[in-house]
Point group: C2
Chain length 320, copies 2
């Protein structure tokens, strides 16, 4: 099963989201337009906007509200990626140079700010105050979570809890904004809103764990960035944590994140990718995915519900 099959119930409106994203780059400052075009096209899976559209399919589906919201969610996502790549000094994303490496950190910083503002403006165009407030809260959660992360030293006892809080703030939060806002903007009953929010959170957790696993076991050509990038940047994700937990006598992870020389990073990546922790991480991702599916079971049965279930499967089986 591929994404375009899953997206079938909303493919026309997803195309409108794509057009809206292209239209964002039509500004009268040529340099800004160039940066926007670069950041907004090429390689995104469009999972978050699709979630907003699909979760609008359980009551009064209104593309005049859902297409802008889906666009806003993708703009916000892109803004966070552009700023993340500055913070992490990442050279490559989705197989091409990041904005910060191609255009410099200053322009990337300002581009991210512009994208936040544009996202807020497009979200505001729905005229729905509840959604606008959730939108602002999501951005607070994401940036506040990243600030917190910069102040945490590696501590094996707390590492797993910190990791879950971190990926909840950086990824699951935006997934649940997408799903919940879709339900709200289609005037769904509160139990539907709650179910979509629950689905979005758990799907986001599964999605991020898979991303973190693929950073160890993926193929560079598919993932679009070098294997082991996270550990090389000092980010301790679930595979490293489970490895450290299962080798309490071994200081490998702690020393790697303290030194970060290329050779010891490569050795740690090699050890982890050939250890049972990869399977354990996949099992944890599958568990979040099945929680997402259980939340969906409370929704009315239609093609969008099936798409949400399929997406929960797709997300934990993907290779990029």
């Amino acid at each position: 099963m591929n994404l375009s099959d899953i997206y079938e119930p909303i493919e026309d409106d997803l195309e409108k989201v794509e057009q809206s994203l292209e239209a964002v780059a039509h500004v009268d400052v040529p340099l800004l337009g160039q940066l926007l075009g670069y950041a907004l096209t090429g390689g995104g899976k469009r999972i978050r906007p699709s979630l907003a559209l699909l979760c609008g399919k359980f009551h009064l589906y209104d593309p005049a509200l859902l297409v802008p919201m889906a666009t806003a969610v993708e703009l916000l996502h892109t803004a966070t990626l552009v700023h993340d790549d500055i913070v992490d000094h990442s050279p490559i994303r989705r197989g091409k140079p990041t904005v910060s490496s191609a255009w410099g950190e200053n322009r990337a910083l300002l581009l991210g700010d512009y994208l936040f503002a544009k996202a807020a403006s497009v979200a505001a165009s729905t005229g729905n105050l509840r959604v606008i407030e959730q939108f602002a809260q999501a951005l607070m959660t994401i940036s506040g979570g990243e600030v917190r992360q910069t102040g945490i030293a590696f501590d094996l006892k707390e590492a797993r809890d910190y990791y879950y809080e971190w990926i909840s703030a950086k990824t699951a939060c935006l997934f649940s904004l997408a799903t919940e806002s879709g339900a709200i903007l289609s005037q769904s009953p509160e139990e539907v809103v709650e179910a979509t929010k629950d689905y979005g959170h758990n799907l986001g957790m599964a999605f991020q764990i898979l991303d973190d696993v693929l950073d160890f076991v993926g193929e560079e050509a598919e993932v679009g960035k070098p294997v082991g990038s996270d550990l090389g940047e000092g980010a301790v994700t679930l595979p490293s944590i489970l490895f450290a937990e299962s080798h309490p006598e071994d200081n490998l992870i702690k020393s790697v994140i303290e030194d970060r020389d290329a050779e010891s990073v490569a050795l740690a990546v090699e050890k982890i990718r050939n250890s049972p922790v990869i399977g354990e991480c996949l099992a944890i991702a599958a568990d979040f995915s099945s929680r997402a599916c259980r939340a969906v079971e409370k929704l009315p049965d239609n093609s969008a519900r099936q798409a949400l279930l399929d997406l929960a499967t797709y997300i934990i089986q993907r290779r990029k």
Copy 2:
């Protein structure tokens, strides 16, 4: 005349804004709280929140809406300062180290993002969609203007126009957001809204020109940062532009911004501060200030109107 006299008609509510800003720093992530406290306290003139409050005094003054809006405007302003200081690599602001120099650029970037989000959230709490939309537009104008600025090479023929567009986007835009939103949130008639917007724009232009003059002629102890910082960072402001216009045979400015060695920057600053262009810049600032005053004349006569007039005078006479 000092600012606290001018702020007298709104002093109680300005104190509430101050308390709201302090409350922003009460978050459950200690590092984030520390960064917020550092950025939000100490040394700000609070001109923008005062403008929002004062411009709410011409119809149905409602502190329940105006205090949050004034807070949101100051949060947005602070966010742009934190990000600006990264872009400009500024070591000092208001006499103390910038967030980026004291805490690192990554934390400053994330703190700025959090402040944008918090500002949007507080603005959204007014429940006024027109104001929320203007808020997002202002952030687009500010960040888009800065992107544009990074792509402009010094060209004497266009320099003055570019400068006015630049300071309109980076400063006057936020002043007019403050004034206009104050009028809108007090349900003022459209002609009052227009007059406050016009006032805010012209006051912001005058304010920025004074800032740029003080960068040449101010005392470091009063201005809170080293004299000549702008030119040292490659920013060509009105004094440099007027100097270059009046010395078309002299390539001083062009060579200074190309080389930026400390000695030639110091020489240029010395030449400019002792030239007639400082007086010419002050005359241009005074002209914007008087346009601001003419806009105010359309407003009902009360103590807030007098404060706006006094502020227009204060702004062009200040030494810091």
